[in-house]
């Protein structure tokens, strides 16, 4: 790391208010204070629809905060920067590009010469095990393979900060565990800081150094838990460890309450 010791991500009292189509105001997040150190893997859990994704869009620069500050590597976020990678919940591969061309897209957008972009893309495709699928189109791949393309397309840009918005939620359970392991492997080689949003507590504990529990919407940070499980981890085996279960219980006590509040609110809405 350089002499610059500012944290990878810093949110200072950040909030985001949207105007709803009916003209009202909807506060997605408020008073967010969160620090992500360099190379740290932070998972964010919270009840569904509480505003976890909004946090990521603020850090990515896709949205501006309505209040407070968002700093990436010590500098306030102004639009989409070149330090950030983002893996979306839905498929975001370009369907008209081949697998190779999809992975080349990032470097090409950033002005890397074609030959070098191709070399880097092929390297990352090899790392996610898709070398044989270079010339396929996304629709010819399985859901898990498409996610791998998305990972390769993100990692090929060497992001210092990796934002992931429930990236594996559309996959089946087995593929999910496999992808989680692969993500850890890929990440360990890069030293990037990760913010991983999920509603799956198990997934968050298995992956992260730090689990952030958000409150029911409008979301703010409720509690931050340190996960002291040793690395390297294997997602399938780590969740059977006694310490894992202990942590799980501890966090669930905090998260469960928020989930209950959300549920009661939506029940009140229906009534």
């Amino acid at each position: 790391m350089s002499a610059d010791t500012s944290p990878a991500i810093e949110l200072r009292g950040a909030g985001k208010t949207f105007r709803t189509p009916s003209g009202g105001l909807h506060t997605a997040v408020r008073g967010l204070d969160l620090t992500v150190r360099r190379g740290e893997f932070v998972a964010v859990v919270g009840p569904t629809g509480c505003g976890k994704s909004t946090t990521l869009t603020l850090v990515s620069g896709l949205e501006e905060p309505s209040e407070g500050e968002v700093l990436v590597v010590g500098e306030p976020v102004r639009g989409v920067g070149d330090k950030v990678g983002f893996v979306f919940q839905q498929d975001a591969t370009f369907p008209w590009r081949t697998v190779l061309s999809n992975v080349m897209a990032g470097p090409r957008f950033r002005g890397v010469p074609k030959a070098e972009a191709k070399r880097k893309a092929q390297e990352w495709l090899a790392r996610v095990g898709l070398s044989a699928f270079e010339d396929r189109y996304p629709h010819q791949l399985s859901g898990g393979q498409r996610k791998r393309v998305a990972l390769a397309a993100t990692f090929v840009n060497d992001p210092e900060i990796l934002l992931m918005d429930e990236p594996f939620s559309a996959l089946d359970v087995q593929t999910r565990a496999l992808m989680s392991d692969e993500l850890l492997e890929l990440w360990e080689g890069t030293g990037a800081s990760v913010v991983f949003v999920t509603h799956d507590l198990e997934e968050s504990i298995a992956l992260a150094d730090k689990v952030v529990v958000m409150t029911a919407g409008p979301a703010t940070v409720k509690h931050v838990f340190d996960i002291d499980l040793p690395r390297p981890r294997k997602v399938e085996s780590v969740r059977l460890e006694a310490r894992f279960i202990e942590i799980y219980r501890e966090i669930w006590e905090s998260l469960g309450e928020e989930v209950r509040i959300t549920r009661e609110r939506s029940a009140a809405h229906v009534a």
């Binding site: 896709l62 989409v80 370009f94 369907p95 897209a105 990032g106 950033r110 189109y137 397309a153």
Partner: protein, 288 residues
């Protein structure tokens, strides 16, 4: 998973005998033959009935002509040329006007559609005017164009352009508006500038919208050219129709129609071919 295992003894797909696949292929082939034969039979039936009714004077042969006469007329045009010159020249003239009008109309429609789809301010300002222009029945512009641009091809190209522009424009506009927001966000995160987003995300994802309109709009281009020629021209299939009509030659009108249909079908075929090449990235089941 486990219930699949349970059901294996019932449906044993792994050991399907090869002759079952064989008989399925044979059934499919037989169906194709039946369909093709039925089509031919239908055509022969309709044409035959027309011929017979016309010869028996059940329908007026002067107004309705008959297939044999229409064929004779086409043959005469092919071998001896029309009153206006060779048939090929007339077809080429019409095709040239339609193609030119189509290309100009499509280009303008795509550019305006994408621009208005991407730039909200432009869409807000121009939106009502485009609606007004679109509500004018554009075929009435054809006589005006003949006045403005004369009897030459320019007036036909102009009427083809106004017919083609609007469907292409609305499709391109819609296509640009309905681009997957995720794809745009992803492209921006990956480092794409606004220009790149337009060129490499918005336009590719709007192409399937645009192509739908291209099929319809080539028909419109032909209509524009023909109507223009019909109103006033020196050459072209539309003029052939007008002239045949003027000399009470019903067979000539029908013959020109047949020629037009063939031209339109060939153009449609070429377009479908191009579409297949361009949309290789699409799942096969979505292009019907």
């Amino acid at each position: 998973m486990s219930h699949e295992v349970l059901s294996t003894p019932v449906v044993d797909t792994a050991t399907t005998p090869p002759d079952r696949a064989h008989s399925r292929a044979r059934a499919a082939r037989r169906r194709r033959i039946v369909v093709a034969a039925a089509r031919v039979l239908l055509l022969v039936g309709v044409l035959g009935l027309w011929e017979v009714l016309s010869r028996a004077k059940v329908i007026d042969p002067f107004n309705f002509s008959m297939p044999s006469k229409i064929w004779d007329q086409i043959w005469t045009w092919v071998t001896h040329g029309t009153a206006l010159g060779s048939l090929g020249e007339q077809i080429w003239y019409t095709l040239y006007e339609a193609l030119l009008g189509w290309v100009v109309g499509v280009a303008a429609g795509v550019v305006f559609g994408i621009a208005l789809g991407r730039i909200t301010l432009l869409a807000d300002v121009l939106g009502p005017y485009i609606k007004v222009l679109n509500s004018i029945p554009r075929i009435v512009l054809a006589p005006i164009f003949v006045i403005w641009f004369g009897l030459g091809p320019a007036s036909k190209v102009a009427s083809a352009v106004v017919l083609v522009f609007f469907p292409v424009f609305f499709n391109a506009f819609q296509g640009a508006r309905e681009v997957d927001r995720n794809l745009v966000a992803n492209a921006r995160i990956l480092g794409a500038s606004d220009r790149r987003v337009t060129l490499q995300v918005v336009i590719p994802s709007a192409t399937s919208w645009i192509f739908t309109s291209l099929h319809v709009s080539f028909g419109f281009a032909l209509i524009g050219a023909i109507v223009g020629e019909y109103i006033g021209a020196t050459k072209g299939i539309g003029l052939l129709v007008a002239q045949s009509q003027g000399t009470f030659n019903a067979a000539g009108v029908y013959a020109a129609m047949v020629i037009l249909a063939v031209v339109a079908l060939v153009a449609e075929g070429l377009l479908t071919f191009a579409e297949r090449r361009i949309f290789r990235w699409k799942p096969a089941n979505s292009d019907s």
